[in-house]
Amino acid sequence: MQRRGVAQTNSEQWVQCAKCRKILFRPDFERAMRVCLHCGHHHRLCARERILLTVDSNSFQETDADLRSVDPLGFPDYADKLRKGAAASGENEAIVTGTAMLGGYEIGIGVMDFSFMGGSMGSVVGEKVVRCFERGAERRLPVILFCASGGARMQEGLISLMQMAKTTAAVSRLQRAGMPYIAVFTDPTMAGVLASFASLADVILAEPGALVGFAGQRVAAQASVGKPPANFQTAEFQHEHGMIDLIVPRKQIRITLTYLLEMFLPVEAPVR
């Protein structure tokens, strides 16, 4: 698989599209929210970029930034990988959470960052997701999660598997509070994250071309009789199969989320 997410930097002024390989003028590329102006390929965003592009200006207030992963099993190279992940992403963990305003509505928000250890879910990601849902239930905030993850974090062993159950339980909290939960699948949304809180949203949006699936492509192909279809494990495939409500180009995500909040959030009874 090509490194589909990353636009190669050729110089300060120019970048190369990871898909069509065309050269793009960087200011244009950034203005297009890192969507290729030629082929429409949606390049990955880091968490902070996503937040900037999504919520109302200056409204984001980060929460739980003080949580750090430890190495509970003494797993080979885990401590090193955590350091490298922090360096690569500039974040302390694979998710940034907080509260913000979106289209004038107060929301709880979580944005995963694939550049921190492939967005994998260990104890800290699990805890931050859970706190996001719990905060939503307590303060009656809708929750919006941008997913980007290769799955559970193997380096925390069974503890990371338990994060699937823990985050799922927290979804049920928000549900009982009657608050909306909207998920946005970005490239990639896989395995343990897809098979837990991500798939349980009231409405699921996805960016075009995002990789979305359960098992690795090789494992899936080996376990199957026929050949996987060409668009296997893309957002488009999952949309065809009823798992995603809408494929939404990056530029329209903000307005789509706003419309959904407007539809779902309780308002005063209409005056007649």
């Binding site: 800290v124 559970a152 598997l161 159950a165 339980a169 359960f214």
Partner: protein, 318 residues
């Protein structure tokens, strides 16, 4: 088919010798009881010795042992009665997951379990206990039946993984796993999960979001199969034994980490050497959990279950 793992080899050699001697004695009408008793004592010593030092990889092999009792074996050996129910009411009936209505002691239960096949044909039919979405959806249907009629739920977990194929992907295997957990969290009846063999990642936790999670002594429970972990970690699936060490996938580790509630001991030599005794141990462990849980109010049961998983995770605050 006889499967002998490396660490079981000396035992099986002794067992062959004992069997030969018995036959010889019977054929010739000789009294060889002293020699036999001696060999049996030797076998017992050897078993104790070997089973005192099992590595996580040995446990992985035991958990996958082709003679290990499977879900329906436990149901048969431990329940007073059982009626299997079928179908997800959405178009499918997955043989990899079985479920139905059972009596266990003074309890009426919904039992759901992953079911491996004993022979090649059944193994294929049951897809090696790798459930497709419809398996979890059948489970959810039975969970809702349990909720409606206030029946406790017992799940028996034994799967290498959820089915990862194209067909499962196209019908939403991820969604099915997530919904299965969610459904279990919503129940207000007592729920007990027992990891009886392989607790394979998402496929296992889908049925294990219970009030109490028990594990058989030699069962394993892991976020990833050791082979898969070795392929990533060492770029060599043959280093699965090392990966098994790193993953700490044994019942002892799970208990130490506070992720399970109880280890159910197996007979000397593991469950497949005495399924009957193992099943009775499971039975009494489950009954004890049910006795405790059935004294708790429905809403409290749900809240306890939430808190049980809520506190799982190891991290620090800076």
């Amino acid at each position: 088919m006889i499967t002998i793992f490396d660490f079981e080899k000396p035992i099986s050699e002794l067992e062959s010798a004992i069997a030969e001697l018995r036959q010889l004695a019977a054929e010739k009408g000789l009294d060889r009881s002293r020699e036999i008793a001696e060999l049996e004592a030797q076998r017992e010593r050897l078993l104790k010795q070997i089973f005192a030092h099992l590595r996580p990889w040995d446990k992985t092999l035991l958990a996958r042992h082709p003679k290990r009792p499977y879900a329906l074996d436990y149901v048969r050996l431990m329940c007073e009665s059982f009626l299997e129910l079928h179908g997800d009411r959405l178009g499918f009936d997955d043989p990899a997951i079985v479920g139905g209505l059972a009596k266990l002691g003074c309890y009426r239960l919904v039992v759901v379990g992953q079911q491996k096949g004993r022979d090649l044909k059944e193994r294929q039919k049951r897809n090696f206990a790798m459930a497709k979405p419809e398996g979890y959806r059948k489970a959810m249907r039975l969970f809702r039946l349990a909720e409606k009629f206030r029946l406790p739920v017992l799940t028996l977990v034994d799967t290498p993984a959820a089915d990862p194929g194209v067909e499962s992907e196209s019908r939403g295997i991820s969604e099915a796993i997530a919904q299965s957990m969610l459904t279990m969290f919503e129940l207000s009846v007592p729920t007990v999960a027992v990891i009886i063999g392989e607790g394979g990642s998402g496929g296992a936790i889908a049925l294990a979001a219970a009030n109490r999670v028990l594990m058989l002594e030699h069962a394993i429970y892991s976020v990833i199969p050791p082979e898969g972990c070795a392929a990533i970690l060492y770029r060599d699936p043959n280093k699965a034994p090392q990966a098994a060490d790193a993953l700490r996938l044994t019942s002892e580790s799970a208990l130490e980490l506070g992720l399970i509630d109880l280890i159910i001991p197996e007979p000397l030599g593991a469950a497949h050497r005495d399924p009957q005794t193992t099943a009775l141990s499971v039975r009494s462990a489950v009954l004890q959990q049910l006795d405790e849980l059935s004294r708790i109010e429905p809403d409290t049961l749900r809240e306890h279950r939430y808190q049980r998983f809520r506190q799982m995770g190891v991290y620090e605050t800076v």
